[in-house]
């Protein structure tokens, strides 16, 4: 009963199953030929970013002060693994709270780890939704997020 198949029948069955698999393969690709494409034509069509997208950081404007809450403590600058943050701040008059004037970030070196956002004692940092980061010079990637906040007003 269970005689092992001869090499010749093996040869023939291999050709038959092989041809069948090839036809099935063609059928699968033919189906995809007529399905809808999944890509977008980028500069003309754009996708919406999720709110959690990580662009470079930016300052949050709070409703109570109509501006950010940065006190120029410099914790973000110290925790940053790539040392790309520089904060400048000062006091308007003696006895007043310290206030951040300039906040420079070179985001071409930023690894988007989010430590600055997590460590900020005033929670005034967040990730922006900026993803078109193309510039002519490396210096263009150094931005002042405080003046960016002013401009966006």
């Amino acid at each position: 009963m269970n005689t092992p198949p001869s090499t010749f029948t093996q040869y023939l069955t291999e050709i038959l199953t092989g041809s069948k698999s090839l036809v099935v393969g063609l059928w699968i690709t033919l189906k995809r030929l007529f399905t809808r494409i999944v890509t977008v034509q980028y500069p003309r069509q754009k996708l919406t970013m999720t709110p959690n997208f990580r662009g470079h950081i930016e300052a949050i404007r709070f409703d109570d002060t109509k501006t950010h809450h940065c006190v120029a403590c410099g914790l973000c600058a110290r925790i940053c693994p790539s040392h790309v943050i520089k904060v400048q701040g000062g006091k308007a008059r003696a006895g007043a709270l310290k206030y951040g004037h300039h906040y420079y970030i070179d985001f071409s070196k930023c690894s988007l780890c989010g430590l600055c956002v997590d460590f900020c004692p005033k929670q005034t940092l967040k990730f922006s939704n900026e993803y078109e980061l193309v510039f002519y010079s490396r210096w263009d990637t150094v931005i002042d997020i405080m003046s960016r906040l002013e401009k966006s007003r």
């Binding site: 050709i15 090839l22 393969g25 063609l26 699968i28 690709t29 033919l30 995809r32 030929l33 007529f34 399905t35 809808r36 494409i37 999944v38 890509t39 034509q41």
Partner: protein, 332 residues
């Protein structure tokens, strides 16, 4: 005075009607059509590939990117033709020229319709086979002269592959030839006015199709350029227009192969409603589409498997088929 009575005009008319003139006009038409046809086919290939892979393919130049290949051709014309320092300069220069010439000659005996044929050579099929063998030499020349290991491996593969696959190709053709008793392509088509030969000779048709795919170095038999192993095989070192001549030859060979299949098995220009020319083109382009479709579906065969497939599968089956055809013809 009646112009037609001028004595030398008779000679001119005789010359215009002669074979030489019709041959020249035909070749000129071929020379004009072939590059345009290739430009179209490259676009079709990219569109087919794109849509199979769920993307639109070229979309930028012209509506739906139909001018893309023309722009590419212009770009390639403008590119510098780099000749690497350690190449064999003469052979490196000659290879792309030699690869294109037989591709043009291949169009001569193909009957697009009863009237549209440059010349119905009485050994038309053999002519195409003879000239298509020349392209192997040019690939070997390109691979050898490039002085690049990848190119050389590709070229050596190409020679072995072409030699192996010409045998089943000719055997499959022979089974049609012994049914029609002619090498003339026009007469082969006329023999199929009622029934196409693909119904008499399905096995020969399949073998012919596979073997021509291998002869034209198309996937899954594209070992010659195998980009995942050999970068781009024998034309790795070629740039600019020389590179595009190899492209031109590849696609033209594909058209010739599809046209031969149409002539031998699909009844050439025969078909209802439309004129013969249209039917011929429909059949040819459908076959080309199938070849492209297969390219974007299958992985590539390995070198030893390619040889095994030719010698252990295709050639035995082609021989058996030829033998059966001969017996049946003798008996009937």
């Amino acid at each position: 005075m009646n112009i037609t009575q001028l004595p030398y005009l008779k000679d001119i008319y005789a010359f215009l009607g002669s074979d030489v003139m019709s041959g020249m006009v035909g070749l000129l038409i071929i020379a004009a059509i072939v590059p345009l046809n290739v430009a179209f086919l490259v676009l079709v290939e990219r569109k087919v590939a794109g849509h199979i892979q769920l993307r639109p393919g070229p979309m930028e130049v012209g509506p739906h990117g139909i001018l893309q290949t023309l722009i590419d051709a212009v770009k390639l014309l403008g590119k510098e033709m780099v000749t690497p320092q350690s190449t064999d300069k003469l052979i490196f220069f000659l290879a792309p020229i030699i690869v294109v010439a037989p591709a043009f000659v291949g169009f001569v005996p193909i009957p697009f319709s009863p009237m549209m044929q440059v010349k119905d050579v009485n050994v038309g099929i053999l002519l195409i086979f003879a000239f298509s063998s020349i392209s192997v030499i040019s690939i070997l020349m390109a691979g050898w002269s490039s002085n690049n290991k990848y190119s050389l491996i590709g070229a050596v593969r190409s020679v072995a592959q072409n030699v192996a696959y010409e045998i089943p190709l000719l055997l499959a053709t022979m089974s049609v030839i012994i049914m029609t008793n002619t090498f003339k392509m026009g007469e082969i088509v006329q023999a199929q006015s009622s029934v196409w030969f693909i119904f008499y000779q399905p096995l020969a048709a399949m073998i012919f199709f596979i073997a021509t795919t291998a002869e034209t170095n198309r996937a899954p038999f594209d070992l010659v350029e195998a980009e995942s192993e050999l970068v781009s095989g024998f034309h790795t070192e070629y740039t600019g227009m020389r590179f595009s001549l190899f492209f031109l030859a590849e696609y033209t060979n594909m058209v010739i192969a599809a046209a031969m299949f149409t002539v031998l098995f699909l009844g050439g220009w025969y078909g209802p409603l439309f004129p013969g020319m249209i039917w011929f083109l429909i059949k040819t382009y459908f076959l080309i589409f199938v070849v492209m479709w297969a390219r974007w579906t299958y992985p590539r065969i390995r070198f030893d498997q390619l040889m095994n497939f030719a010698w252990k599968v295709l050639i035995p089956f082609a021989l058996v088929n030829l033998l059966l055809t001969a017996i049946v013809l003798k008996v009937v």
